[in-house]
């Protein structure tokens, strides 16, 4: 059927394009992704290369316009390569979180009863442990690497998603149109994916943007604590490396800090923009 998907439809796209801050967030993220992904081909030097005078100020030499760190590594290329890890962790751990949160929350909300009780007790167990402590513990046990960071973040971030999905499923399951689908003989899997899910999308998108923001922050925190992927340059690592030189070389910590902030902000604006775009118009209709 033509134009089957609701989100490819005119009004949703139009409502999204109307929001300046969401568009700005989207453009920032797209630009960052392109820069990060194409870095080796754009002639950006390796962020580990020590080929310049150490502690060079920004905007002094055009070859190193954002300055260098104490080992003479270029800050600009550090930021660009750091974006790779931040974005990868952000996207991958959001997907992993959604997968876990969705499976558990959906199962709990759709089946109810003792399954629901058991799964929610497990979720609570994860929620009573401070998130960062648990993430640090998991990454330390699993050996720091991209995969372990993603797993660590997903393991601490899934309970709120599961709770939200469960709540959405429970209310939506009572809706008359879902009941109508049961009466029409639609299979449970089809009911979940065609009737319930599209209607649970708006709140899920907002949570997704929060998760992604938190994931980027958590990754930075882990890297700052020395638990990042040792092979990859990351923003958290850059701040960690600069912390003894805060007074002598402010740019070494301020610039990656700004990068983290802008990135999280962009993700949040994008999520908010999507939520507004997906919101249903009021009940009103036209009279016959």
């Amino acid at each position: 059927m033509k134009g089957d998907a609701y989100w490819l439809d005119g009004p949703v796209l139009r409502r999204f394009l109307k929001q300046r801050s969401a568009l700005a967030g989207l453009s920032f993220l797209v630009l960052l992704t392109v820069l990060a992904a194409a870095a080796p081909w754009l002639g950006v030097a390796s962020p580990w290369e020590m080929n310049a005078r150490p502690l060079m100020q920004p905007l002094v030499e055009s070859a190193h316009w954002l300055g260098t760190d104490m080992l003479g590594r270029d800050v600009a290329s550090g930021l660009i390569y750091g974006a790779r890890i931040s974005l990868a962790v952000g996207v991958l751990s959001t997907l992993a979180t959604l997968l876990v949160g969705f499976g558990i929350g959906g199962l709990a909300g759709y089946s109810g009863g003792w399954v629901d009780d058991a799964l929610m007790r497990i979720a609570e167990f994860f929620q009573i442990i401070p998130q960062l402590v648990l993430a640090v513990l998991l990454v330390a046990v699993l050996e720091p690497s991209l995969a372990s960071v993603v797993i660590g973040i997903a393991m601490v971030a899934w309970p709120p998603v599961a709770r939200l999905v469960r709540a959405e499923f429970m209310t939506l399951r009572q809706r008359e149109y879902v009941q109508a689908a049961v009466v029409l003989g639609q299979k449970p899997s089809a009911i979940i994916f065609r009737q319930i899910l599209p209607n649970a999308l708006a709140p899920l998108l907002v949570t997704m943007s929060f998760i992604m923001g938190t994931a980027i922050l958590t990754e930075a925190a882990l890297a700052f604590l020395g638990l990042g992927d040792p092979e990859a340059m990351s923003w958290g690592y850059m701040i960690d490396a600069s912390r003894n030189l805060l007074r002598q070389a402010w740019w070494m910590s301020v610039l990656p800090g700004l990068a983290i902030m802008l990135c999280v902000l962009a993700v949040n604006r994008l999520g908010e923009g999507l939520r507004v775009a997906f919101e249903l118009p009021d009940r009103g209709g036209i009279d016959p």
Binding site: E176, A180, V182, V183, P281, P288
Partner: protein, 546 residues
């Protein structure tokens, strides 16, 4: 009604503008009306006719963005728009008070009802505590609440809907106002409760010599209370006159349609062949719900108690009852959205009460349902075409064929083919209910269960949907279970009626018999509660039968 009576409320050429982007420019268009002391003026109109805006304008409580553009509202000779804020506040509650549609939201759930009435008195300067308390008890007793001392301490949720509305009325009467504005005060109530509240308002009005501005959409209510009637359509005044004249000789075509919609039409008595097979049956069905009363107190509410019912081919069976009678649960059990605790449910002779959903799915195409709320029963994220094809695709019909059937169904229920590509939000309530009907019919069911399928619609749209159902039933040879709280609707459509109360079926019989010779006292009270009893009409105008 003597003309010499003093004019209490005088509205001249009132025009209320709506903010830009609303579906029309004005909520009210040059409305002129007078309410004289001691009389009841009914303002009648469908939803969106601007009737509630009138009440808000009189009390100067119009929402943001909505304003009086021109015209004048005089109350006791004073122009309401020129009064100071403090003066208006004094006027509200003392001289004019209001009764709302939904008593639960008009009351504060965290305060006892006595306290809430007490506060009204306090706000208007009755400082003596003893005096306030005595007055509150007096008011509660006056509106017919039993044990006013106990009700004084009760919280809104501990009272029934009718009792809550009595409390709201008591509150409105605190200072014996000159004018009572009642905005759909009975629409949220059951028929019997509705009749009691109307009788109460009528009594109060006569005893206190108070004027009443009664806003309603329901002509059967008008018949019971009005001295004079004013009909509104989309903000325009259509007709005004004495209740007698409007009800018996409506002039404007719109009024005529409204009056006709409220006049019961009897079903054509049909004789079913004696050997018509039984399609649906409930045998000794019982079902209960757990309800929690806080602090671990649990109680079981018996929603269905040994219900026996059967539906024969070609027949329309009405299930009538007030809210909480278990009629909707029965509908859900019959369609097997709910598995009953005990008893048998048979579809075409086959026992399905305990059948798992997996096995039931293939059999579902024969029994379909039309839902109550046309706004909640259509998935807002799917196009109408997709909604209509859902059932067909689920039953393995190829997409091309399903598409063709969906277009046929749209035509069948009187919607344009272009509806196929649009989302439900683009349609009005009546059109949405047509889509719901089309969805149910797409599977070519033999039995249709309709749960309150017109109660969320305006009177005129109700008639259209009922006519559509009647027509479809004749053409498609459908058998119908029609669940409703409205005896008028049941009388119009049903061959047989089952009256339910507290989970039990009190009596079942052919519609005419039940209406003419009800055997159960409760059925009689239901019939008496009707502002105009259809039984009398059935006998009075036999031509309505043909």
């Amino acid at each position: 009604m003597s003309e010499a009576r003093q004019t209490l409320l005088d509205v001249t050429n009132l025009r209320i503008s709506l903010p830009a982007g609303a579906d029309r420019s004005h909520a009210l268009h040059d409305l002129t009306l007078q309410v004289r002391a001691g009389e009841c003026l009914c303002v009648v109109g469908e939803s969106g006719s601007g009737k509630s805006m009138l009440a808000s304008a009189i009390l100067r409580l119009l929402p943001q963005g909505v304003q009086v553009q021109s015209g004048r509202i005089l109350f006791e000779g004073l122009d309401v728009s020129t009064l100071s804020e403090e003066h208006v506040r004094q006027m509200r509650g003392r001289r004019i008070s209001m009764v709302f549609q939904e008593p639960m939201s008009a009351l504060n759930p965290l305060l006892s009802v006595g306290r809430q009435i007490d506060e009204v008195l306090l706000d208007h300067g009755v400082t003596l505590k003893q005096q306030r308390r005595a007055r509150v008890i007096e008011l509660l007793a006056y509106v017919g609440l039993p044990e006013p001392e106990r009700v004084y301490r009760a919280y809104p949720h501990q009272l029934s809907g009718g009792q809550r509305q009595r409390v709201v009325i008591a509150m409105a009467l605190a200072f014996d106002p000159q004018l009572l504005i009642a905005d759909e005060p009975t629409s949220a109530l059951d028929v019997t409760t509705q009749a009691q509240i109307i009788a109460l308002l009528r009594r109060i009005q006569q005893e206190k010599g108070m004027a009443m501005l009664f806003i309603t959409h329901d002509f059967s209510v008008v018949r019971a209370v009005a001295d004079r009637v004013l009909v509104l359509e989309k903000g325009h005044q259509v007709e005004e006159g004495s209740a007698h004249a409007i009800l018996n000789r409506p002039q404007a075509p719109y009024t005529r349609k409204l009056v006709a919609a409220a006049t019961p039409v009897a079903a054509q008595p049909r004789t079913l062949p004696a050997d018509a097979p039984e399609l649906l049956a409930a045998h000794q069905v019982s079902h209960g719900f757990k309800s929690s009363h806080g602090w671990g107190q649990r109680r079981r509410v018996q929603a269905l108690d040994n219900v026996d019912l059967r539906l024969r081919e070609g027949e329309t069976l009405g299930i009538v009852g007030e809210s909480g009678s278990g009629k909707s649960t029965l509908g859900r059990v019959l369609i097997r959205l709910q598995r009953p605790d005990s008893g048998q449910v048979r579809w075409f002779g086959e026992e399905v009460a305990g059948l798992p959903e997996k096995h039931l799915r293939a059999r579902r195409s024969d029994v379909q349902m039309i839902f109550q709320d046309p706004f909640a029963s259509l998935n807002p994220r799917q196009r109408v075409g997709q909604i209509l094809m859902t059932g067909l695709l689920a039953h393995g019909i190829p997409a091309e064929q399903a598409r063709a059937i969906a277009f046929n169904m749209l035509e069948l229920v009187g919607l344009p083919a272009t509806a196929f590509y649009r989302y439900p939000q683009a349609f009005s309530g009546g059109q949405r209910q047509r889509i719901g009907i089309a969805r149910a019919l797409a599977l070519q069911p033999r039995v249709l269960i309709a749960d309150e399928c017109v109660s969320a619609l305006d009177a005129l749209i109700q008639v259209q949907i009922l006519e559509l159902l009647e027509d479809l039933q004749r053409r498609l040879k459908l058998s119908l279970v029609f669940i409703t709280h409205d005896l008028h609707v049941a009388a119009r459509l049903c061959d047989r009626i089952a009256v339910m109360r507290q989970g039990r079926v009190l009596e079942v019989g052919p519609t005419q018999d039940v209406f003419a010779h009800p055997t159960h006292a409760y059925t009689r009270s239901l019939l008496d509660a009707l502002p105009s009893a259809p039984a009398g009409r059935l006998q009075a105008c036999p031509e309505a039968l043909s």
